[in-house]
C-alpha cells in the first residue's frame, strides 16, 4: 500500500481531510478491499492506543486516589464504566432508610438537607422534561408523571408520588430513569459527606425490578453540564466527574411495599454540583406492563460539627 493511502487514512482519523478528499477516500474504500483492510487496521490501532493511554491514566489516578480508599469512588479510574465497577463490587452497597438516617444523630455530626426540587412530587402539575435536565433544580428523564394513590400503591410521603412508566409509545421502557442536578453550597472542608436516598415501589409485586440510586459529584457549574452530560458519563470518564457512588436493590417478587434505599459518599469540597440519578431496571423478561413509583427523595450534606 503506498504512502498516499496511509496519509489519506491518517488525515481522515485526525479530521484533516477536505470535502473532496473525504469523497475520494470513500470512493476508494468502496472499490479497494486492501485499502479497507488497511483502514480497519488503523482504526483498531487508534482504539488500542486510546485503551493503552486509558490504562496508563487509570494507573496514575489509582496512585493518586490511594489515600482515599474508603471512598465509594473518587477519581476517574473508578468512574470508568460503572458496569465494570459494579462487577468488581466497588460501588454497590445498600442501606435501608433506618440505616441511612441512623448515623445522622451521631454526636458531633451535622446534617444539612440540600434543596431538592419537588422531593415528594406534591405538585401535580409538575412538568418533567425528557432526557437530561438543562439546568439545576429540575426533574428530567424518561416518561413519568406525578400521580395520587393508584394501582394499590399509596404515596410514601404526602399525597402524590411519581409514576415511572414501563411502557411508552407502545414500547417497553426497560430502564426508566430520572435525573436532577443539585447545586452544592460552598464547603470549607476538603471533603464532605453527601447522602442521597429515595423510596421506590412497584405496582407489579410479581416482578423483581432493580432499584438504583446513583450520585455524581462534579466540579463544573450546573449550567455547564449540558443535555448530553449523562450519556457521556455513563461509560466515558471526564475530568469534571470527581466522585460518584451507586447503590441498588433487587426488589424480591411479592414485595409490594415501599423500599427506601440510599447511599453515602465522600465528595471533595470543590464539587459544585451533584447529579442525582434514580432508575429502575426491569427484568428483560418481565412483562413490564405496570409502572413503578418514586417518592421521598432526600439529599443531605453531612459534616463534622465543631461542637465537641
Amino acid at each position: 500500500m503506498n504512502s498516499d493511502s496511509h496519509d489519506l487514512i491518517q488525515r481522515h482519523m485526525a479530521g484533516l481531510l477536505t470535502n473532496d478528499e473525504a469523497v475520494a477516500l470513500q470512493t476508494r474504500l468502496k472499490a479497494d478491499t486492501d485499502l479497507r483492510r488497511l483502514y480497519l487496521h488503523y482504526m483498531n490501532l487508534d482504539v488500542a492506543l486510546e485503551a493503552q493511554a486509558g490504562v496508563r491514566d487509570r494507573g496514575i489516578d489509582l496512585l493518586r486516589s490511594a489515600p482515599m480508599a474508603e471512598n465509594k469512588r473518587i477519581g476517574r479510574w473508578l468512574s470508568w464504566r460503572p458496569l465494570t465497577a459494579a462487577a468488581a463490587g466497588i460501588a454497590f452497597g445498600m442501606f435501608c432508610s433506618s440505616l441511612v438516617f441512623g448515623f445522622v444523630g451521631q454526636h458531633g455530626v451535622k446534617k444539612t438537607l440540600l434543596a431538592v426540587h419537588e422531593p415528594s412530587f406534591e405538585d401535580a402539575q409538575m412538568s418533567l422534561a425528557k432526557g437530561f435536565p438543562v439546568t439545576a433544580s429540575l426533574w428530567a428523564g424518561d416518561v413519568s408523571k406525578v400521580v395520587p394513590a393508584e394501582n394499590g400503591v399509596t404515596p410514601k410521603d404526602g399525597h402524590h408520588m411519581l409514576r415511572l412508566e414501563t411502557t411508552a409509545y407502545g414500547r417497553s421502557v426497560l430502564f426508566p430513569r430520572l435525573y436532577q442536578i443539585i447545586a452544592l453550597p460552598p464547603s470549607g472542608s476538603e471533603l464532605r459527606e453527601i447522602e442521597v436516598s429515595a423510596s421506590f415501589a412497584s405496582a407489579d409485586p410479581s416482578s423483581s425490578p432493580y432499584y438504583t440510586v446513583r450520585a455524581y459529584a462534579v466540579n463544573e457549574a450546573p449550567e455547564r453540564l449540558g443535555p448530553d452530560w449523562f450519556a457521556r458519563h455513563w461509560f466515558i470518564e471526564r475530568d469534571e466527574f470527581i466522585a460518584s457512588a451507586e447503590t441498588g436493590f433487587e426488589n424480591p417478587p411479592g414485595n409490594a411495599k415501599w423500599q427506601s434505599i440510599g447511599l453515602r459518599m465522600q465528595v471533595p469540597g470543590n464539587a459544585r454540583c451533584l447529579v442525582v440519578f434514580l432508575g429502575v431496571k426491569n427484568q428483560a423478561n418481565s412483562q413490564a406492563s405496570k409502572p413503578h413509583y418514586l417518592d421521598a427523595v432526600e439529599v443531605s450534606s453531612v459534616e463534622a460539627s465543631s461542637i465537641p
Binding site: 479530521g15 479497507r36 493511554a53 462487577a87 466515558i236 428483560a284
Partner: protein, 175 residues
C-alpha cells in the same frame, strides 16, 4: 429452568461485553469520522445491548449488528457531511470488520510489545496524545511545535506501530 436473576444476567452481560468491547469499539470507530463520535456511539450501543441483552444469543454477532445500526442512526443525522460514510460503505466495513476480529485481537496483543520498543519519550508522547482530554494544540505548544508538526510525527509513529504489529503477528504465525 428459572430465568437468571438480575445479578446473573448482569454478570453474563459483563463477561460477554468485556470480551467484545475493543472489537466493537474498533468497528464503531471505523464507521464514524472522529474518536469522540465513536465514544458517543459506543455509549448508545452499550445501552441498547444491555436493554436487549439475551444471554442465549451469539453475543458478538448480535452486538456488531446493534453497533452498525446505532452508528448508522448517528451518521444519518450528519448525512450532509462529506466526511460521513454512506450506508453502502458502512455495510462493506461491517462485513470486513467481523472477519478481522481475530487479526485485530493479535494486533492489540502485539501493540504493547511494539510500544515498548519505542524510546520512552516517544512512548510517553504518543500515549499522552491519546489520553482523553489532551488537546493537540496545547500539547504541541508545550513541546514548542506547531500542531501540524505534531500530527505529522503522530502519523509516522502510527505507521511504524502498525508495521510493527503486523510484523510481530507474521513472525508469531511462522514461529
Amino acid at each position: 429452568m428459572s430465568p437468571p436473576s438480575e445479578h446473573e444476567r448482569h454478570a453474563q452481560f459483563l463477561r460477554h461485553y468485556a470480551e467484545s468491547e475493543l472489537a466493537l469499539h474498533t468497528f464503531v470507530r471505523s464507521l464514524v469520522p472522529t474518536r469522540q463520535m465513536a465514544s458517543e456511539v459506543m455509549q448508545d450501543v452499550i445501552l441498547v445491548l444491555w436493554e436487549k441483552f439475551d444471554a442465549a444469543a451469539d453475543f458478538q454477532g448480535w452486538a456488531f449488528g446493534v453497533a452498525k445500526n446505532v452508528a448508522l442512526r448517528h451518521l444519518r443525522r450528519q448525512a450532509r457531511d462529506r466526511h460521513v460514510f454512506d450506508d453502502e460503505l458502512v455495510n462493506q466495513l461491517a462485513d470486513d470488520a467481523v472477519t478481522l476480529v481475530p487479526v485485530h485481537d493479535e494486533h492489540r496483543e502485539a501493540l504493547e510489545r511494539c510500544l515498548d520498543k519505542l524510546p520512552a519519550s516517544q512512548r510517553e508522547l504518543v500515549l499522552t496524545a491519546y489520553t482523553k482530554g489532551t488537546r493537540m494544540d496545547e500539547l504541541a505548544s508545550r513541546r514548542g511545535q506547531t500542531p501540524m508538526a505534531l500530527y505529522k510525527w503522530l502519523h509516522r509513529i502510527r505507521q511504524a506501530l502498525l508495521e510493527c504489529v503486523e510484523r510481530t503477528r507474521a513472525q508469531e504465525e511462522h514461529a
